[in-house]
Amino acid sequence: MAERIVIHPVTRIEGHAKISIYVDAAGEVESAQFHVTEFRGFEKICEGRPFHEMPGLMSRVCGICPVSHVIASSKAGDGLLGVDPPPAAVLQRRLLNYAQVLQSHALSFFHLSSPDLLLGLDSPPEKRNMFGLVEREPDFIRRGIRLRQFGQRVIELAGGKRVHPVWGTPGGVLHPLTREARDEMAGWITESIESLQIALGRLKSLLDSLQEEIRHLGNFPSLFLGTVNHDGGLEYYDGLIRIVDSEGNVVADRLDPRRYYTFIEEASEEWTFVKFAYYKPLGYPGGKYRVGPLARLNVAQHAGTPLADREMREFKQRSRGAVCESFHYHLARLIEMLHSVERIEELLNDPELLGEDVRARALPNRREAIGSCEAPRGTLFHHYTVDRDGTMRKANLLIATGQNNQAMNMAVEQAARRFVRPGHLTEGMLNRVEAAIRCFDPCLSCSTHAIGRMPLVIELRDKSGRVLDRITRS
């Protein structure tokens, strides 16, 4: 008898998600689907509004990576005005984007994933959370919290607000950065680097004991897409798109993100609201690709900062081609955090950062523009069309969750095949399927609370919809 197992979060998640696992009569997992009902109304809300409002509006798309939306939106705005923002504005935007990567990754790694990693996926659920970790590893967790605070503080000092900063604008940013703010930021660097080195050492020492998870939580070939700078190094603000395959071969290079629609296409499936982005020349579903930390480390040849470069060389030795294990998103995240702190330090030492001239002004000169950047979870594109007066006619957002959608579905399916035994549901199964999603750190996990696990329900159903078994966790 064919069965369907449904896992879905119960409460406290904006943008509901649900996992269905289909099991055949023999009890083998046949397929799995990861459904996200993200709030896609945003594009509609933009229509008819002045495009200058977009950065402010877009900072509301997400409570975790608002800065990246502000940046992509401001860059699209630069394009509509047809101006280059002054150097100080570019430096500020870069600074905040690194701070965003830092704080978002810190949340993902320390708050959400480290209970699983450090305490073990089979440790008792009542202990496997931030509080359990605080008891066992107070220093480790305190460092994680401080790292996140550093990122947030940078955003707060420059953006005026920690959560939804209105700071970027078409043509630049709103205010010059003060010397006091810069000096305060600089005070965090040493501690942050130390914390990240400790965390990296810790994660690497655990990898041997996690072989089972590494092999089965989303380990498969795919393309990887990310931004690189002019010499092929990591880049988060400006740059060109590179795509590599699982062997590490460059499939496409020097693609202009402002022409993303020439190489990325989106497919729809009736069972989910999130579209499936794919690399156009390879079609759907063959052109599936991953974005985000793992993809960026796979496409870039080097980091460009000394400490991160050392880590990256080691990272690249994990595979002859690209690193295909989605589990290594965690490791990639830590390396990116280290890189971000190093870049933040460089930026803070740049005298131009405090420049007074932070905004280029113009009337709209173009009807259509695209802004992109590397957001914590992957390459982000904002595509705007306006009328002659600057009224928004159309907005299209291509976000990381959509681009990782195919990969997340595969990861869930792989985890389910390996760990789910129908008829008898265990906490351990639930954890592994959840951990597969957690690797990608999709937006829905960010809206769960810092307690470190998603509220989930697994339901085991037969074909007629009758519930055979059920596990709930809140």
């Binding site: 002045p50 409002e53 950065p55 900072s59 509301r60 209105v166 009337l363």
Partner: protein
């Protein structure tokens, strides 16, 4: 000019004949809430936020339109008035689309300030969510009908101070809108001198300078007093 003596909130106060309760109260530090009144142009009593209780009169009076009288006893801050004002602000919020978090005037809006002062932490009436346009045809300014409270400050300042009379009010009830000229887009107005006075006096984010992003539109209302003093007294003082 004769002087009138009256009592406001228990205080004995004197005011000039012809002055409104509102003006006299403010001169004595009693800040009656308001949205449509702004010093320097005429009053129309559009918003009803300045309502006060006058002893001996059953109905509430709009203090901006009620002249002081000898021996009046006025209350500006009673339970009944607070309830009324709160409801008026809630109705204004529900009538159009006020989403402060993404509004150009966020943090510098008289309606928002008033809502905070009156403790409007939620709206008890159902939002109407009308679909309203934004006019960005003017080269320098924008008009967002979603944020307009129909106070008509723009209409009056344009007519009485600038002398252009670009703005007017058209339609009735829920269909009421301020319009430019005969209803054509602002950018096509023959009468607008692009002076920007309407933008500065507008209490909300309805009129704004183009290019302003969320929470960036701050209004400068000091100019009105300056112009009116210069015109009436021949004194050019800020």
């Amino acid at each position: 000019m004769s002087v009138k003596t009256l009592q406001i909130d228990g205080k004995m106060i004197t005011g000039s004949d012809g002055d409104s309760i509102f003006t006299v109260a403010w001169e004595h530090g009693i800040h009656i809430p308001r949205l449509c009144h702004i010093g320097g142009i005429s009053d129309v009593g559009a918003c009803r936020l300045c309502l006060v209780e006058v002893e001996g009169q059953r109905r509430l009076q709009a203090s901006c339109l009620t002249p002081v009288q000898e021996g009046m006893v006025v209350h500006t801050d009673t339970e009944r008035l607070r309830a009324q004002r709160k409801l008026i602000v809630e109705l204004l919020m529900a009538e159009r689309n006020h989403v402060c978090a993404v509004c150009v005037a966020n943090g510098a809006c008289e309606l928002q300030d008033l809502a905070m002062r009156l403790g409007v932490d939620h709206v008890r009436v159902r939002y109407r969510f009308p679909s309203l346009p934004v006019d960005l045809t003017h080269e320098r300014f924008g008009m967002d009908h979603n944020r307009c409270i129909l106070c008509t400050r723009c209409v009056r300042v344009c007519d009485e101070v600038e002398g252009a009379h670009t703005w007017d009010v058209a339609g009735r009830g829920a269909g009421c809108r301020v319009i430019t000229d005969m209803g054509q887009p602002w950018g096509q107005s023959d009468t607008c001198t692009s002076c920007g006075k309407c933008v500065q006096v507008c209490p909300t984010g309805a009129l704004f300078s183009k290019g302003k992003t969320v929470a960036e539109m701050e209004k400068d209302r000091g100019f009105l007093k300056y112009i009116v003093t210069a015109r009436e007294k021949g004194q050019w003082i800020g």
